[in-house]
Amino acid sequence: MDTCDKCGKPQIIINRKQSGQMLCQDCFIKFIQEKVLKDIRRQKLIKKGDKVLVALSGGKDSVMVLHILNSLRNRRIIDLVAVTIDEGISGYREDGVRIAAQNAEALGIKHRIISFKECVGRTLDEIMVDSDDRNACTYCGVFRRWILNQVAREEGATKIATGHNLDDETQSILMNYLEGNIHNLTRIGVQSESMYEGFTVKIKPLREIPEKEIATYVLATDLPVHLAGCPYAGDSFRAKIGTFLKEISKEHPTIMYSTLRGFDKIKPVIKEKFSQKGSMDICQECGEPSAGKICKACSFRLSWNHE
């Protein structure tokens, strides 16, 4: 019978094939918490006195980020605020929003729920009725970033923490390589560089944790999480790459780590050569930082007014 590599207990809950470790529930929980806190320290993602805004969807990744960062809040190293964006996806988003609120309340963390409807004027469902070409993720991503950036400033947050995990990050790397989007590659990293005034630094504390370990962690700790798939995710290119990476990881359990490590090594070189250092403007509509005269979010909103 298999026993825990750390304490010898017989009931193991995970076989970490990338390291050959087998761990019991208690040792796994402790191992993951320490690993995330160590990653935060090593990569200097957070410093004492930071006010961290957690982008809390209610899904497993962001709930785990909230709970682990709360240990730093309990030690009075940082302050936390949780923000949930309600994109307006009928029959799906309600549960996530409710579960997000439940987690924030249980920890006594200030929580704000902000909807696309109030901020953008339309729910994602309404946006998609009129949209023929773009997929939902494009709108979702653009508006979410736009809203989070504004709320971070309102709240005086110094960092925005997201739940991106190892699977998400290696998917992004591979997608951009395969599509030849070298410029997008320069923006992938554990921490965004605050090149422009008005952007709050984004950090990814779970960047080195595989998605399945996050799921195992939230189930092992009995955290309330929203485990459902977004109805708009569908058969995207990202989903295909995700399936491919998970499939190949079965036989090569360290492949996602080596993809990430290799990328992090060549990134400074890519950045040096391909980073667009073009000057940043201020959007004439909303005053947010923008690559052009009108930011992406406002160009979408303006196009609706003309319909």
Partner: protein
């Protein structure tokens, strides 16, 4: 031997040969092992865990879209 399998709202009894593991069971059910976490009699277990007569196996889908 017989085991109870719970997948979401759905609960069913399954006849399984002796000597099978959770991984074998998932393969029978055509569920990709990398997208789920499995509990046996309410404890999380690994895919190499043997399945025994009377076990209650709960399959929790945790990974979507990839």
């Amino acid at each position: 031997m017989q085991v109870t399998v719970i997948i979401g709202e759905d609960e069913k009894k399954l006849d399984v040969n002796e000597g099978k593991t959770v991984k074998n069971l998932l393969q029978m059910l055509e569920i990709p092992v990398e997208t789920v976490v499995v509990k046996k009699n309410q404890s999380i277990i690994i895919e190499e865990e043997p399945v025994e007569d009377g076990d209650i196996i709960e399959v929790i889908k945790v990974i979507y879209g990839g």
